[in-house]
């Protein structure tokens, strides 16, 4: 979907065209779901937040400036809802919890639901990946797991392409020390 098509679609959506919103939905639903899943590692939670994301988008689409792009706006809604999800669960109302990677058993009262099949892998990797800042993890996931180009990642995370590239480079440097053990664990678990 190029910028021209997107602007036209936004215009039609703002004018109440449901089919135009449907086109956006088809384009983004799996991406948004995956994005949320990477931050929650729990299918039901990811589906619930994906639903909320699109309900919010539908409700507020009229406020979207046609000069702005749909994707960063949509991803920001999803990002905020994930943060809300974990903050609501935390009795301490931690403001620094942005996704499941930021949670820990030290967060008294928080219930972390994870899909059973990823639980072991996640726990093994978490101690390495949670050394990264949330936005750094996000860039790594979008580049490596979703294979998005930096141009698109930059739009999603609201930073420049150069900043995203630098972020990824820094993350790899940090992981150079952390990953050997993690990779061993992951490969074992996948056997």
């Amino acid at each position: 979907m190029d910028d021209k098509d997107e602007k036209k679609l936004i215009e039609k959506i703002r004018m109440g065209d449901h089919s135009a919103f449907g086109m956006f939905y088809d384009h983004y639903v799996s991406r948004i779901y995956n994005f949320i899943y990477y931050k929650t590692h729990h299918k039901e939670t990811a589906e619930d937040i994906t639903s909320q994301t699109f309900y919010q988008a539908l409700a507020n689409i009229a406020q979207l400036d046609t000069n702005r792009s749909f994707s960063p706006w949509l991803y920001q809604i999803a990002r905020n809802l994930v943060t809300d999800h974990y903050r609501k669960q935390s009795h301490r109302n931690h403001s620094d919890i942005e996704d499941v990677w930021d949670t820990s058993v030290a967060d008294a009262g928080i219930t972390i639901e994870l899909d059973t099949d990823v639980k072991l892998t996640f726990e093994a990797l978490k101690k390495h990946l949670d050394g990264l800042a949330p936005h750094e993890r996000e860039v790594v996931m979008l580049r490596v797991w979703d294979e998005l180009p930096y141009k698109e990642i930059a739009k999603i995370v609201g930073k420049s392409e150069g900043a995203c590239k630098m972020s990824f480079s820094r993350s790899v440097a940090l992981l150079r020390d952390a990953l050997p053990m993690a990779s061993y664990v992951v490969l074992l678990l996948k056997l």
Partner: protein, 506 residues
């Protein structure tokens, strides 16, 4: 996977070339990261169910907007008086604007007012050349935010920090804008286009030219709004809301083949489409389409529509059939009827006309070499206009920019457009070169979008350009589905523009 790892590694080397010494270690890290990818268990039935639920929701339901207000009204006895009020009040407004709303409005600004344009290439020059659409991004640097100089016609993009444009990301599509994406399975034969200029040498005497930037034209809808905001609907009292503005208006004709009319008062935009509930009757047997509508018939129907609904089209040229519809060249026989390989079931039920926009007698084209302007879709089955879109108030700021004056530079740009295909060389893929001959160009304006890094907005620009006609029809078994190739004359705008080059297989 290997290809993706190589690309990621190359990106790291671009940032820090010394990392190349640690390739083995880095390769392992990236591979491990890929191995970490969890199975997200995306459930298509969940997606379908959610879509169905969303389709039942009114747009903008969290706020009592004017649009949702109309969408939710179901009682005719309420709707009729409200609609009458709206139409009664709206008529004088429309009448006031009838002669001028879509007329051209241009505000002069200082030279270079939109900043400098630059192409930020993400790929090597070779891969950029080989990309269908180029691999670079055009941005504006040092550009002020989009503003209009007239109070009522200005638009201020004051929300910062969010970039624009959806970018690519469609794995497996031909319109892949980035060479690092996974490409679809290659065809057995790919056609490589090369351009050859066969026209006359052109003297580029103009050293500067105007770049136009579209600005939103707000409509004063206060007269329309006033009676509504004092209206108590029974379930909500509109007068209790404060500082209420009117953004959009949506009306529909409650009759067979009726229309839905949507106006955006902030953008100065009008959209007319079918009221689908009155165009499609469940269970109704549709008349088969046995032949495509002729252009003459489509134009006659569209012109009658414009006249009947008093839509000012004075800024637009004579309509042309949109040539990006594949059926036009592939599915139909030259006579316009059906062929053995194109049964009638495949014929589209509409045909689209483009009324080309002209600015000061200069025609506007898009990057694919297609005329840009108002689109009117004619329904073939009902012989009736179904849609009018891309109809905006033509309000612009314009600023003077240096133009390319060296003919050799233009020729070099054409050569750079030659497409060596983004499929990798392989013994399994046969490449055939198709030479596209281009004739003597004419001056036009190129409609394009440019991202403003300062305020995170996308700007709609009209840029001086040359348009080259394709003078030699390529071999009949291939399609080069652009009649023109457009080359912008402003430095910094070029490779990212859709050139209309495409690769076809037989």
């Amino acid at each position: 996977m290997k290809n993706n790892i190589d690309i990621i590694l190359q990106e790291l080397y671009d940032i820090d070339p010394t990392l190349k010494d640690k390739e083995k270690e880095l390769r392992k890290i990236v591979l491990t990261l890929i191995e970490m990818k969890p199975d997200t268990k995306f459930d298509h039935s969940f997606a379908l169910k959610l879509k169905e639920e969303l389709s039942k929701q009114p747009m903008g339901s969290s706020q009592p907007s004017f649009l949702s207000f109309f969408a939710n009204i179901s009682k005719p006895k309420v709707f009729i008086p409200v609609a009458l009020i709206v139409l009664f009040v709206a008529l004088p407004i429309v009448k006031d604007k009838e002669q001028s709303f879509f007329a051209l409005s241009v505000i002069d600004t200082k030279p270079g007012a939109f900043g400098t344009f630059s192409e930020k290439s993400e790929a090597t020059s070779d891969s950029a050349r080989s990309s269908l659409y180029g691999a670079s991004e055009v941005t504006m640097e040092g550009a002020p935010e989009v503003t209009g100089a007239q109070e009522d016609t200005s638009y201020v993009a004051n929300e910062k920090g969010v970039s624009a444009g959806a970018g690519g990301g469609n794995i497996g599509t031909m319109s892949m804008p980035d060479s690092r994406m996974i490409m679809p399975y290659p065809p057995s034969v790919i056609i490589v286009h090369e351009f050859e200029y066969v026209g006359d040498e052109v003297a580029l005497s103009k050293e500067t030219g105007f770049v136009y930037r579209r600005i939103a034209k707000r409509t004063d809808a206060s007269k329309l709004l006033a009676p509504l905001t004092s209206f108590d609907l029974g379930y909500v009292n509109l007068s209790s809301f404060s500082n209420v503005k009117l953004r959009t208006l949506s009306l529909y004709e409650d009759k067979r083949l009726g229309y839905e009319i949507m106006a955006n008062f902030e953008e100065g935009a009008l959209y007319i489409g079918p009221n689908w509930s009155k165009w499609n009757t469940p269970g109704e047997e549709l008349k088969p389409i046995t032949s495509q509508m002729s252009k003459e018939d489509a134009v006659r129907i569209a012109n009658s529509f414009l006249k009947e609904y008093k839509i000012d089209s004075s800024l637009f040229g004579d309509p042309v059939l949109r040539n990006d519809e594949m059926w036009d060249s592939v599915m139909l026989s030259p006579e316009g009827g059906t062929t053995e390989s194109s049964p009638a079931d495949w014929l589209p039920d509409s045909t689209t006309l483009v009324y080309p926009l002209t600015i000061s007698d200069v025609p506007v084209f898009d990057g694919g070499g297609n005329p840009f302007g108002m689109n009117i879709q004619v329904n073939v089955r009902h012989k009736k206009v179904s849609n009018v879109d891309n109809l905006y108030a033509q309000s612009y700021e314009r600023s003077e920019y240096p133009l390319i004056t060296e003919w050799s530079t233009v020729l070099a740009k054409i050569t750079d457009r030659s497409n060596s295909s983004w499929y990798p060389d392989s013994e399994d893929i046969k490449k055939e070169v198709l030479t596209i001959q281009l004739g003597t160009p004419e001056h036009v304006l190129l409609h394009t979008w440019v991202y403003n890094e300062n305020d995170g907005t996308n700007n709609e620009l009209l840029v001086p350009a040359l348009i080259f006609p394709v003078v030699v029809d390529p071999a009949s078994s291939y399609s080069f589905h652009s009649e023109y190739v457009v080359v912008p004359l402003v430095e910094g705008i070029g490779d990212s523009v859709h050139t209309g080059i495409d690769t076809f297989t037989r």
